[in-house]
């Protein structure tokens, strides 16, 4: 089931074990986005703004059906629009709902230095806690999907919460409620994965989308938002969806070995000079101006 209490699974920048870890049974939620049935109505965008209390406002027109040029700190959810011509010359309109993918291995959480600013719940939701955010934007670098957006005025980073406030009390995310075609569905990860795969089988058998497939990238341990794509071999065509996303290896080195090597080196440096002082002592040459101690009388 998708419902259940919000149980913290991991906390960013937190030195100790997570309080209450492993005290509840395992379950995972998932949002399924069937791109093949999206009609680009943007009801999900409106529902997202409404639920999160953000204002509607002017945007710029760039000759597409896309509402905004990009996600913004107060615009978590954007239907990306692409005119795609395939190898046989067929034009298609690709509309992909872009938002946080809620990775099982979240690069944002790995990169974050602030205690408790990013939380991963055991149901899979990755949520930002703005009261703990320090505005360093390391999460922007950690994210392989370029999702977190910075509010310059409050110096806090925001992104889709997968409506953790709704899911936590047994409701579906706002975008799911608004979708008129059933392109958006919400449930347990197992159920959604099954449903996605059966939809892909249907596409293979009944349509010309022979390359259709499920997008649940293993590079980030799978995601709690999965897609059904007409052409799973070319996710890049859908507004730059990465083909093989993973937490950047530069971030892994920095947050893994470098942290330990650096910490050990600094500790060794301090112990080193302390031991040197005990073994060799100071270079005393001066008695006339009140420096205490022995003069340099050795050989």
């Amino acid at each position: 089931m998708a419902n259940g209490p919000l149980q913290i699974k991991a906390i960013s920048g937190h030195p100790g074990p997570v309080p209450g870890r492993n005290t509840s049974r395992d379950y995972a939620v998932c949002k399924l986005i069937d791109v093949t049935t999206c009609i680009g109505c943007k009801a999900c965008e409106v529902a997202c703004l409404e639920w999160n209390g953000y204002p509607f406002r002017e945007t710029s027109f760039d000759n597409t059906y896309q509402t905004m040029p990009d996600l913004e700190w107060n615009y978590y959810n954007l239907i990306r629009f692409d005119e795609h011509v395939d190898s046989e010359g067929t034009l298609s309109w690709l509309m992909r709902k872009d938002q946080c993918m809620h990775c099982a291995d979240p690069g944002c959480l790995r990169a974050c230095p602030a205690d408790g600013a990013i939380v991963q719940y055991s149901n899979g939701i990755v949520d930002f806690q703005q009261e703990n955010c320090i505005g360093c934007q390391y999460c922007v670098t950690g994210c392989p999907f370029d999702i977190p957006k910075f509010n310059k005025e409050t110096k806090k980073v925001h992104k889709c919460t997968l409506c953790s406030d709704r899911v936590g009390v047994g409701l579906q995310p706002a975008c799911i409620k608004a979708c008129p075609t059933g392109c958006l569905q919400f449930g347990s990860k197992d159920d959604m994965k099954q449903r996605a795969e059966s939809r892909v089988r249907q596409l293979h058998e009944q349509t010309s989308y022979k390359k259709a497939g499920v997008y649940d990238p293993p590079g980030v341990g799978g995601t709690h938002v999965i897609y059904v794509l007409h052409d799973a071999t070319n996710p890049q065509a859908y507004g730059g969806l990465p083909a093989d996303p993973h937490v950047p290896w530069l971030v892994r080195i920095w947050k893994g070995p470098l942290k330990w090597v650096g910490g050990l080196a600094m500790t060794a440096g301090i112990f080193g000079v302390a031991l040197h002082y005990l073994r060799f002592g100071p270079k005393i040459v001066d008695r006339e101006e009140g420096d205490r101690g022995v003069n340099q009388e050795k050989s």
Partner: protein, 224 residues
């Protein structure tokens, strides 16, 4: 009624002392020192969760994060200033290479076996150049980290590299900084007073920087 003792004397150079650093040199040094220490404390807080408590010393995570880049800019200004006034004194010359070769004698306090040094010994010069070049690397990588939104997703490797390089360069400066503070405060008594009050004793100058002392006093016999 007894009169109050007048222990406070005017701030002139005491007898037996010579000027080591001018007022502006000391200002420059401490501007770079204080801004470096601010960057050090706030940077270590962001480097590892085990040191995140350091941010509390500076008013909390968001405050430390806000001022870190500005303190970094101050450090850069101080470093450029220091380079302008000390670059000639800091240039590495032949005698420095000999000194570095026998650095073991310096570490084990057998200073009499070392070639005599000028105003700065080779260790001080190396420290200066490490900090100078590290500051440039830290500035460039730090600017990228300050404005990550300027880089689209396909240039995410620029952001990642900047963070990694920033951390590595900072660790190099921390190693140099530990030795610098240890030398100045513990290892060479009189050095700390030189960089704060500006003067050192003649004996100190003769022992640690004989060529400089000779130059300042035109006294060739000062040389060991």
């Amino acid at each position: 009624m007894s009169t109050r003792p007048t222990a406070i004397q005017d701030h002139t150079i005491p007898p037996g002392q010579i000027v080591r650093y001018s007022y502006s040199e000391r200002m420059c040094h401490w501007l770079s020192g204080l801004s470096y220490v601010y960057c050090l404390i706030s940077g270590l807080a962001l480097f590892t969760p085990y040191l995140y408590w350091l941010a509390a010393l500076l008013g909390g995570g968001p405050t430390a994060r806000f001022w870190h880049p500005w303190a970094g800019l101050v450090f850069m200004i101080a470093t450029v200033w220091m380079h302008a006034i000390w670059k000639r004194d800091m240039s590495l010359i032949d005698v420095d290479r000999q000194w570095v070769k026998s650095i073991k004698n310096y570490v084990t306090n057998r200073d009499d076996l070392l070639p005599p040094q000028g105003r700065f010994n080779a260790g001080q010069k190396q420290f200066f150049w490490i900090m100078y070049y590290a500051a440039i690397v830290l500035l460039i990588s730090g600017l990228i980290m300050w404005f990550p939104e300027l880089f689209p997703l396909r240039f995410n490797w620029v952001r990642g590299s900047a963070i990694l390089i920033h951390a590595c360069a900072a660790l190099v400066t921390i190693g140099a900084f530990i030795i610098h503070v240890y030398m100045g405060v513990f290892m060479v008594p009189g050095g700390f007073r030189g960089i704060t009050l500006g003067h050192v004793s003649r004996r100190w100058a003769r022992a640690h920087h004989p060529l400089w002392y000779e130059q300042m006093t035109n006294d060739p016999s000062a040389r060991k």
